[in-house]
Symmetry: C2
């Protein structure tokens, strides 16, 4: 970033739905930035990154994100630095979700066309935290009804479900499912897609202009084993 370097490391596995509470993340830079400005940048970057992941809905008592700046590289352009900080934090957050206890897949989920940012985030968290959605992705089961259920159970933000569609993968895959478009061949192709170790899913609500992105992982027997039997 303008001659300065930004590095970061992070650790996390379970008890992960951070609200800056066992996740540890350290970021290092040689940029020269006033501490209060850096703190505010970090707060905004964390909101968009670490606070957007969930391994198991459980929130640890000791999540930590720290950024250290020694100033050796001199002053930097604040906006460019903040963008680099947000990108680094997002990368680390995704890696924590990918590395979730027992996880075999990273789930990258975007909820679009929501009536408000709050509705987009609540619904995205509801989907990425749903045990039925997480197990179906683990099993590569194209069970899109579970996504609809996870949207519908957010009673605070009722969404009419007739305009809802779900998109798996990107433009290359072209896998869009809705009540109108369901057919056996499409379901088979979605199942094939879900076998990848990183799945991109976009849920379009057809109810507004707001979007939020979150990251999670599948729920497997491995999660249960790690957490039921780890002590003696």
């Amino acid at each position: 970033v303008g001659g300065a370097t930004l590095s970061g490391v992070a650790k996390g596995a379970g008890m992960i739905e951070p609200n800056m509470a066992t996740m540890l993340s350290y970021l290092f830079t040689d940029a020269a930035l006033p501490a209060p400005a850096l703190q505010e940048m970090l707060r905004r970057a964390v909101t968009q990154s670490f606070n957007r992941i969930s391994v198991d809905t459980d929130t640890s008592t000791s999540d930590t994100v720290v950024v250290l700046a020694n100033g050796h590289a001199g002053p930097v352009h604040a906006a460019a630095f903040e963008q680099a900080l947000t990108e680094a934090a997002t990368y680390l957050a995704q890696e924590i979700a990918r590395d979730g206890e027992g996880a075999t897949k990273l789930i990258d989920l975007e909820v679009r066309e929501a009536p408000s940012p709050e509705a987009a985030l609540r619904i995205a968290k509801s989907i990425v935290n749903s045990p039925l959605v997480k197990t179906s992705i683990y099993g590569a089961d194209p069970n899109w009804g579970r996504f609809v259920m996870a949207v519908g159970k957010v009673f605070e933000h009722p969404i009419p479900l007739d305009r809802l569609s779900i998109h798996f993968g990107g433009a290359a895959e072209n896998l869009t499912i809705s009540a109108a478009s369901q057919n056996a061949d499409l379901l088979r192709r979605i199942s094939e897609y879900l076998k990848r170790d990183e799945v991109h899913i976009q849920v379009r609500l057809g109810s507004g202009l707001h979007a939020e992105r979150v990251w999670g992982c599948d729920l497997t027997e491995g999660y249960v084993k790690e957490n039921a039997y780890y002590t003696t």
Copy 2:
């Protein structure tokens, strides 16, 4: 109930955190009761029973509870009938939680000494829905820190944790743990207790006079298998 009979059946396994949305429950009686009064009794009974259980936090789109009354037994004492209805609904709700997908145990959880009924219920749901609490109970792991975590993650109702204690079993077991009372023998006895197929747990918050009771089940490899591989 005063000469009248009340019978009920219920079905449920997963996608269970009812808010009267795949759970089916039918109650039958020969009591003579006006339909509007019976509807109100049922609504109150459901709030205390079916809406207090969770298998997996996922809320189905089609939970159903119906009570049918043919009047053959004639009029009944309304309060006595409502009590019988609430008891029947609570029994059926507990059986659904016990029969949860992959479940090996019924968890009967009461949160006491909460500052409000809402706080008691939100915290009770947070504990009974926590994957880390559910897997630890499956593994008979006396990991009471996970209970503390599940209390602490309810940010809407902050509870000072220094007065919190957790009670496993009843007076006969006398298994009470808190930060002050933890020791290896107690942990071993709690682990023994958690091997039962029905566990009673009371979390006392030390922050008020309100209590709520909920029912749930443990989280096992069986839940993952049933929901990841059930289709072909």
